[in-house]
Symmetry: C2
Subunit: 346 residues, 2 copies
DNA sequence: TAACAACGGGAATGCGCTTTCCCAGTGGCT
DNA sequence: AGCCACTGGGAAAGCGCATTCCCGTTGTTA
């Protein structure tokens, strides 16, 4: 990485480095037209590309935004990533990407790496876990984030506050009303169905999943329906598939009224649907099914999924912009319930 | 971003900055245990986080990898991104992300930004366009990449070489055998179907699309089938949908033997399928359909898509690793044809 | 015991840039 | 004519770190 330097450009143009710097990057002072032209010509002939590291060191501003996701290939996260990337580009920032599989220890490492790079803000997406075994790592993550904020960093949090973070200075949360939407969703579905109800949830302690489970139960209660039984599985497509296999067996062994299955997210719902299909069961004929998130790439799936629509890209944008502006206080996105064929609607 | 500095840590520990540097980053020389302990304690108490910019400046190595994709939310690119991210993490690098919508001008800008940041390598994914209006921008992109390579950068290219790049030094291409796979795919499908055949292609000049179209035509010829007619549309889900609407109209207006539709990629195929369905046509009953890529998130789609399976994540890994090692010469991935229900198989 | 190698620590330099400060020249004003 | 404000350019001081020398100690060997 041995590109030519400002000093070389300056020498070739016959000016001082200070002058070269002033013309090549719009400083407050603008050198005369003739000189500027000479410098620009020299820069072009040498193929000069300013060293952003050196500039960052000199100006103490990097133009970097760190993004932390569980898995960039997961459509939930990649949709958010697009929003983050859009906002970053709009504000002339570059995004640094880190993936962590949701492991608090990895997230801590990612925050440290971003802090070392002096990223101006960090956007952290992905559900936090309150599970016991993660407790220690969560505390360390929170400490790392707090340190980052004390040093002037700003962090954008998607979903719910980071477990263990008490300070609010520097944090900008985009609140996703998981519980409220889940409640509305379950209420709407509950009005049309008698049950029994089943929730395919993620691991206990995963905040997003827990919030949605709680909301669903309340929504069912609102509609005067019995509480749902809960099946837990990993928070992804394959987790949904496992749960779906189990549910299919249950349906075969204990035939009864058509069950209604709420999956904690769309991706799990797709897994459930695949498992039911593999077991000769059809949605919505043999079981109603609802998801959560309304992932864009899954909208062509049939039967179309009843779900809670979240403006994921917008969420990413808001989280990013919130850290760049001085917006005080959390932003709350709306979201809405979308009824489709998988629960018999449409 | 005013974190504490090495000098502060050194002062607090009562040692020189040189010593502090040596203990905090494994240098060749390791200070004595007692001193090391003091330094580490001082660093911890100050919450010291080394400034990666300064380190980069001093060592002239940044540990950064730039990734250029059309759209991070597109599952094709996000799968590749996962591979890149994996490889980067394995090699202790961070990835910088840029999205460009495939616009050569934006890609040039992204390369320049990565060069400024002194990224050690750049991975560029996404089809190049040979279309006339992009010609000038393509030349500039190639020039920017060449300059980057001359300065010691290494670039990993996914798919086909960048248009206009003549040098090979610094470039590491992961060749995707689009034409061969398309030919195999069309040959296999052609054996079971009489036609007529239709190709839903991307815009003319998009290299990946053109390669696949050519391969399909040759595969049909291999099987002794007539050439396919070509419908062009934007290279995404909605483009596929548009084309699907047109094709559905054609089928309605000119009923005849069941047509076979090859989409230039899976995402377009999904769009085609949605359009056919909206028009009361069913796959594979009223039309056979094949895609390309075998996107993971689309595998639960029904009818399951006949397609060419590409190890996208592996492709991302190889492109990244290729730039980091001194692997000479291009890597070629295999890929395979996967026959499923959408063409009547399975 | 003398000479020397090995070791462990610090001073100083430089990475490539921005920016303050300084200085000479110019024009406007009384 | 004399003074001053201003302009446009350069010298130099960092930004935070790694690293090369250099030097005083200690341990080793003949």
């Amino acid at each position: 990485m041995a590109a030519s330097t400002l000093a070389e450009v300056a020498k070739l143009a016959g000016v001082s480095p200070a002058t070269a710097s002033r013309v090549l990057n719009g400083s407050a002072r603008t050198p005369g037209a003739g000189i500027a032209e000479r410098v620009r010509a020299a820069a072009a002939s040498l193929g000069y590309v300013a060293n952003a590291q050196a500039q960052a060191l000199a100006t103490s501003s990097t133009g970097l935004i760190g993004l932390i996701v569980h898995d960039i290939a997961d459509p939930y996260f990649s949709a958010i990533a697009r929003g983050v990337q859009d906002a970053a580009r709009e504000r002339r920032r570059m995004v640094l990407l880190a993936t962590t599989d949701g492991t608090p220890a990895d997230e801590k490492a990612a925050v440290a790496a971003f802090a070392a790079r002096r990223a101006e803000s960090i956007v952290i997406a992905g559900s936090r876990s309150t599970h016991g075994e993660d407790a220690a790592a969560n505390i360390e993550l929170a400490a790392e984030l707090d340190r980052y904020c004390r040093n002037g960093g700003r962090v954008g949090v998607v979903g719910q506050p980071v477990v263990g973070v008490t300070e609010t200075a520097g944090y900008h949360t985009v609140v996703v009303p998981n519980e409220r939407l889940a409640r509305e969703l379950a209420g709407a579905v509950g009005r049309d169905h008698e049950g029994p109800f089943i929730i395919v949830a993620g691991p206990q302690g995963l905040v997003t999943s827990d919030d949605r489970v709680r909301g669903i139960q309340r929504g069912l209660a609102d509609a005067g329906r019995p509480a749902a039984t809960i099946v837990r599985a990993p928070f992804g497509r394959n987790g949904g598939f496992e749960a779906g296999v189990e549910i299919a067996r249950g349906i075969r062994e204990n035939p009864g009224p058509r069950p209604v299955i709420f999956a904690a997210n769309d991706v799990m719902a797709i897994g459930v649907a695949a498992a039911l299909r593999d077991n000769g069961l059809r949605v919505p004929r043999d079981a109603a099914l609802a998801g959560f998130d309304d992932i864009e790439w899954l909208r062509d799936f049939r039967p179309a999924l009843t779900t809670a629509t979240l403006p994921l890209e917008e969420i990413g944008r808001l989280a990013t912009l919130g850290t760049l502006n001085d917006d005080a206080g959390p932003a709350t996105i709306a979201g809405s319930v979308t009824m489709r064929r998988s629960t018999g609607a449409g």
